[in-house]
């Protein structure tokens, strides 16, 4: 009967041929065989199912009864195992495929960081790498996302919060940066002083008592507004405000009349090669001779296999043809150029809030092939600076 036990032990369907089938079957059962599903299919032919472990008994007895036994098929675990073992390569490739898929599924393929500034993102990635969390690493034995989260929060003080989520083979991090707010500083009593000498054009004091009025000339360090609200009182508050003043800058510039420039003509020779350590192996384009003056640019490309850099590098050399051109410029042109660069550098120095209102050429002279230019700029800028009062020490 086809029960569980027989399945593990294994059963066989066989075909018996011979004239002494009944005595043979009887002899078999006498020896302890268990026969089932016996059916006659011909005059001297019978099919039946036997247990695998009864097989030796049948083999022993078949000669005596002159029966021919033909195995039709086998069922159960022993036959399955036998078939599996026979197909070793299939079995091995199956196991290999399972392992392969398992490894791939348990490999971290990408880390995505969102919501952070590039610098913080880089530091988060660096920290993750130090925990052993980077693309290409097996996730087995890796810390839990929750653990990584708490570690990141501990190690990077600028992070307000970070969410670490594992999605399949990638990590998604969502961070929130701490916005620094120096709240205490804003409330401290202070006054405004001038950072530069200038003439007050406009003043807008949000908090505090103004001390200067429009068109006053102020010196550097002079108070512009105070937090002392009443003249005799002790009430000091925080002062805040803007004082736009007119300031003056002198710029001096020396510009050569003759200018020599190296210009690439656009024609270039390319040569390629391999670089192994300090040894260079030219591959292509090395026979081209460089005519005249050239500027060479070399690009060396590393080859990487995962984290490992190959010792062989690809080298591309570009030789640009150069034309030397000399420019002669007039005084007028140079003055324009000089004024422009002076303006630009001044604005760069003063910041975005400043505005150049007027410019005047004080001096324009020529000596030793150079033009000397002195310019005066009138600038409107904020000169107010907050100074804190230390109290009661």
């Amino acid at each position: 009967m086809g029960n569980q036990h027989d399945f593990y032990q294994g059963t066989m369907n066989i075909r018996l041929k011979g004239s002494l089938i009944e005595p043979f079957l009887h002899a078999c059962t006498r020896q302890g065989c268990q026969l089932s599903r016996v059916r006659r299919i011909g005059d001297d032919e019978v099919v039946l199912t036997i247990r695998l472990r009864d097989w030796p008994i049948m083999r022993k007895l078949r000669k005596k009864y002159r029966c021919k036994i033909e195995i039709i098929d086998g069922k159960g675990v022993p036959f399955l195992v036998k078939r599996m073992v026979k197909k070793t390569s299939l079995l091995l490739s199956f196991i290999a495929a399972v392992i392969f898929i398992f490894v791939l599924a348990n490999t971290l393929w990408s880390i995505e960081v969102k919501g952070l500034s590039p610098e913080l993102e880089a530091s988060v990635e660096k920290k993750l790498k130090s925990y052993g969390v980077y693309p290409g690493k097996l996730t087995i034995g890796m810390d839990d996302p929750i653990e990584i989260q708490s570690k990141l929060l501990d190690d990077i003080p600028d992070l307000l919060w970070v969410g670490v989520k594992k999605q399949g083979t990638s990590y998604h991090l969502y961070g929130v940066e701490k916005t620094r707010q120096d709240l205490d500083e804003n409330d401290r009593p202070s006054y405004l002083v001038a950072t530069k000498k200038g003439m007050v054009i406009r003043s807008f004091i949000k908090k505090g008592r103004p001390l200067v009025s429009v068109y006053d000339i102020v010196k550097k360090g002079q108070p512009l507004a105070t937090g002392e609200l009443v003249e005799e009182g002790d009430v000091f508050v925080h002062t805040e405000g803007e004082v736009i003043a007119e300031t003056w800058y002198k710029a001096e510039q020396q510009l050569p009349l003759k200018h020599i420039l190296d210009l690439t003509s656009g024609e270039a020779n390319y040569s390629y090669g391999l670089k192994i350590g300090s040894f260079k192996l030219p591959l292509w384009g090395w026979w081209k001779s460089d005519e005249g003056k050239v500027r060479e640019e070399e690009v060396v490309t590393d080859w990487n296999v995962r984290d490992w850099t190959l010792p062989i590098q690809w080298q591309k050399k570009t030789a640009f043809q150069i034309d030397r051109v000399s420019f002669n410029q007039s005084k007028k042109e140079l003055q324009e150029i000089g004024a422009k660069t002076a303006r630009r550098s001044l604005l760069q120095q003063l910041g975005e809030d400043a505005a150049i209102k007027d410019e005047k050429v004080l001096h324009l002279g020529e000596e030793h092939g150079k033009v000397k230019l002195i310019l005066l700029f009138k600038v409107h800028e904020n000169i107010a600076e907050t100074k804190y009062i230390s109290q009661g020490d």
């Binding site: 009944e22 079957l25 302890g32 016996v38 039946l48």
Partner: protein
């Protein structure tokens, strides 16, 4: 001698109210409708085909007629037959 032994056995069986198949070495044949026959205590399978199965027991043969007969299971002293049964006949020895 054999006859005397048989008589003794029959008497003991009656006296102790024992099942006769145990005492007298006779086959116990159970049928389930006409689809299954369960035979215990047989001593051998004599013939086996789709229409007829003959079984040896101590004192004779049992002939089972039917169609599409087959042996579902065969053990040392047990036999489970299946198929469409028509008749069970006893053919004692010496007849």
């Amino acid at each position: 001698m054999a006859k005397w032994q048989q008589n003794i056995r029959a008497w003991i069986g009656r006296y102790f109210d024992l099942p006769s198949d145990v005492m007298l070495d006779l086959p116990r044949i159970t049928t389930i409708g006409s689809i299954h026959v369960y035979i215990e205590n047989h001593t051998g399978l004599l013939h086996f085909s789709d229409n007829e199965i003959r079984i040896q027991y101590k004192k004779g043969q049992v002939r089972i007629l039917g169609s599409g007969l087959g042996i579902k299971m065969m053990l040392k002293e047990e036999l489970l037959l299946e198929g469409e049964l028509k008749s069970v006949e006893f053919l004692p020895d010496g007849q």
